[in-house]
Subunit: 313 residues, 2 copies
């Protein structure tokens, strides 16, 4: 049995996870991110212990504890190097947690953990696997020979931060034209809002009653499904950006499987089919076995399941 912690800006979520990646029990506490790291680390430990004990599982039966955290993680040193939304900087989370838990504690970036979770649950001895999440940003996780790859300093796999449009839209990272600025759900929402401003009498605008605050990642997809041309145009353009980046990733990694995650991936074949067609048409090496593109399977639990298996991968 494993314990996993998903550290977020709002909540600390803990899970008791079995060998098959099944979440047996859960516990949750607020992060209260303004507190000192000692208190947060204590709550992380107690929350994990709670997930075990309320399921009647003794800590003696726990093999290891895994932590998924936003930001840049250094598992070797057991620190969170930098996490913007919790205001951690070179924070020694592992040593602090080990005051309460005497088990091996492994740490990883939350996108990496989600990738690992998806990988583990595919239950296949894949040589390489890439996970791309389309959310507020664009995140990535890379698994090579069964091991998470994140560069020599733990900061790699930033698939959202490759320039796709040199000199293009400003990205939160300070560069211009990053993949994330276009292919994230934020990018899709921006494009939808822009279209509504330019077409206030459109069907698309009516879907959110001309209130830009009502616009979400689904708005353009809903309009497109109702046959609206403007909605279809926005969706097609967004899928075009997503596909360009996925093709880049295929050309660079040629992974056995590339899975697309994030809430928007629930659109399923509506996005998977055109992305797959684009990649097949434009990928560099056409005479070799093809990367299999898939929609991610686990949803929000991927991070927790992956964190549980950090010690193994």
């Amino acid at each position: 049995m494993y314990l996993a912690i998903d550290l977020g800006g709002t909540n600390i979520k803990a899970g008791l996870v079995d060998e098959d990646g099944k979440i047996i029990n859960r516990a949750q506490r607020p992060t209260l991110a303004h507190r000192g790291y000692e208190e947060i680390a204590k709550d992380m430990a107690l929350c994990a212990i709670e997930a075990a004990e309320t399921a009647g599982v003794s800590m003696d039966d726990i093999e290891s504890v895994g932590i998924g955290s936003p930001g840049t993680i250094d598992n070797n040193r057991g620190i969170i190097v930098y996490a913007n939304n919790i205001n951690f900087r070179n924070t020694p989370i592992r040593s602090e947690m080990q005051k309460y838990i005497n088990k091996p504690i492994y740490m990883g970036n939350d996108a990496d953990c989600a990738a690992l979770g998806e990988y583990v649950m595919l239950k296949k001895d894949m040589k390489s696997f890439v996970f791309v999440t389309l959310g507020t940003g664009v995140g990535g996780g890379i698994i090579i020979d069964g091991k998470l790859f994140s560069g020599f300093n733990g900061a790699g796999g930033e698939l959202g931060h490759m320039t796709l449009v040199k000199g293009g839209k400003k990205c939160t990272c300070g560069r211009k034209g990053c993949y994330e600025a276009y292919a994230s759900v934020t990018g899709l929402i921006d494009a939808t809002k822009q279209a509504i401003l330019e077409n206030p009498n459109s069907y698309l605008a009516s879907l959110c009653k001309n209130n830009l605050e009502e616009v979400g990642g689904k708005t353009a997809f809903l309009a497109a499904k109702d046959g609206d041309e403007l909605g279809k145009k926005i969706v097609d353009e967004w899928i075009g950006y997503v596909s360009e980046g996925i093709t880049n990733i295929v050309n660079i990694f040629q992974p056995e499987v590339l899975a697309i995650g994030g809430a928007i991936s629930k659109e399923g074949d509506t996005i998977l089919k055109p992305i797959t067609e684009f990649v097949e048409k434009y990928r560099y090496s056409k005479d070799v076995d093809q990367t299999r593109l898939e929609i991610a399977r686990l949803g929000n639990d991927a991070g927790l399941i992956g964190a549980a298996f950090l010690g193994k991968h």
Copy 2:
């Protein structure tokens, strides 16, 4: 001792390489690419044997033979899947060569071999290393945990074929706006020619006597060194494209060392300094150890040395 073969469209080059990566002896034959693969494979084998025997080394003292070839290579099956400039397609080079050489034969892509050669000669236990060659195209080689990484099908590492300018310049691969279309020496030469056409009375134009066929990768660099503004502008723009792609690669791989190769890398600090400054300014994760950028050290021999060590990595 190892034997290495660098298979090119024009020549077959063979080398006898010692444990330290030193090339002890060489041999060469024309590829005569129009011939059947049986004859080419035979010449590859005989050329390698010649490199050993003319150095007085018996084949008994050879550990293995490595082949670096352009195109897509499948080492597991011992075939060249596809090599455009020799017209090979699913060609069983290994089994054919083993008619003449009874040693383990390993095969790899030439850019991968060059990366491996540079890696081996850095003689350091690097966790990850990326090699980017700026030549006719832009090639890449990736080494993770001491092993070449080229995806599940051997076709990965195509760093030149990520879109940098969506909808931009046509690339030889069929897509638009690839990194290679801008950052290759071909891209630099194109930009130089264009500037000369637009400025026939410029100093830059005088350097090649207004003869576009005289334009090379060095032309704009020469003009810039002489203080010519037009030359400087072309060089700066080209370095800007190169830097964008290198920053992408750093964000994705965070390798311990990234080496830049190809004949143009002889410009040394003239290109390394501005690229390094760009990467430091725009890389995503600033709070972690930095990738060390370097100019490649081996020149044309990298491929031969890397091929020799294919069996070990």
